[in-house]
């Protein structure tokens, strides 16, 4: 199977120019658009969309870089740092409390804090991929997933508050 980088014809690296990537995606989309070409090319269009989704997303792109370098992703790094898990647990509890209390300011403060930490992890991921430190890269990817889950939960709460 072709890697998402191959499909979009870009270098297999984490720090992709997202503006250039989007332009490339649009150009290629026009070429394989199922309306304009043979039915058989519907598959190519689906692959292209999936590849672009992967490369737009930090977590998925980080994994794709590791895959492209032949680093196995199964048996992912287990998070063994109790202090990290404790911090995540406390953040999730604080978010749960803020949700129950309908404390929008608290929810947003927690969200901003976690978003900052996520961004810092993402920079650390970029640096470790650059340095070919794959163990560290996998650890950062693992941690980013915990932050992402937290931010997903924030989105759910925001929707709730909008509906209320």
């Amino acid at each position: 199977m072709r890697s998402p980088f191959d499909i979009l014809g870009v270098e297999a690296r984490f720090d992709l120019d997202q503006v250039a990537l989007e332009k490339r995606f649009r150009d290629l989309s026009r070429e394989v658009h199922p309306d304009r070409s043979r039915r058989a090319e519907l598959g190519a269009s689906i692959d292209l969309n999936a590849a672009y989704r992967t490369l737009k997303d930090d977590l998925a792109r980080g994994r794709a870089v590791l895959e492209a370098r032949g680093v196995p992703m199964q048996g992912e790094e287990r998070e063994n740092d109790p202090a990290f898990l404790m911090a995540i647990m406390e953040l999730r509890e604080a978010l749960g409390d803020a949700r129950a209390a309908r404390d929008v300011a608290k929810v947003e403060a927690l969200a901003a804090q976690v978003a900052d930490t996520y961004a810092a992890s993402c920079r650390a991921l970029a640096a470790s991929l650059e340095a070919h430190d794959h163990g560290a890269a996998r650890r950062h990817l693992g941690r980013m997933r915990y932050y992402r889950r937290f931010l997903d939960e924030v989105d759910v709460i925001r929707e709730e508050n909008e509906l209320a």
């Binding site: 740092d81 990290f84 404790m86 911090a87 647990m89 693992g142 941690r143």
Partner: protein
């Protein structure tokens, strides 16, 4: 795909949600995370040190329905068992009971790990109380990401 009635029951009415005093020498706390999805689970047991029977168990899980149901079931199962018996619980027992789909098997693994980790914490506390040297904590090669409240 349909989830089993038991799974939905545990998800909608989770048993033993809560917290035990983690400073209590008879309480063991296990905190585990699932790197594949970013879920976290805390499971605590309160053990009678004379009989080694688990008299109470509580959990708190931030995760999907299957993770919540797995930990809820785990607390129900360990209550009344000895530490030794609880140690023998397997994630496959949870999979069978809740009829977990293949993509959710890792949730049952998480619950098994949480039980084992809570028991390990309890045993470590007991060893310290008996004046035996506690096991050295595993070295950590990475600085902790600072997270303030």
């Amino acid at each position: 795909m349909a989830y089993s009635d038991k799974l939905i029951d545990h998800y909608e009415q989770p048993r033993n949600v809560g917290t035990l005093d983690k400073e209590d020498p008879n309480v063991g706390s296990g905190l585990v995370g699932a790197p594949a999805c970013g879920d976290v689970m805390r499971l605590q047991i309160k053990v009678n040190p004379e009989t080694q029977i688990i008299e109470d168990a509580k959990f708190k899980t931030f995760g999907c329905g299957s993770a919540i149901a797995s930990s809820s079931l785990a607390t129900e199962w360990v209550k009344g068992k000895t530490v030794e018996e609880a140690m023998a619980l397997k994630n496959t027992d949870i999979v069978k009971e809740l009829n977990l789909p293949p993509v959710k098997i890792h949730c049952s693994v998480l619950a098994e790990d949480a039980i084992k980790s809570a028991i390990a914490d309890f045993r470590k506390k007991q060893a310290v109380a008996r004046g035996e040297a506690p096991e050295a904590a595993a070295p950590n090669d990475e600085t902790i990401v600072p997270l303030t409240k």
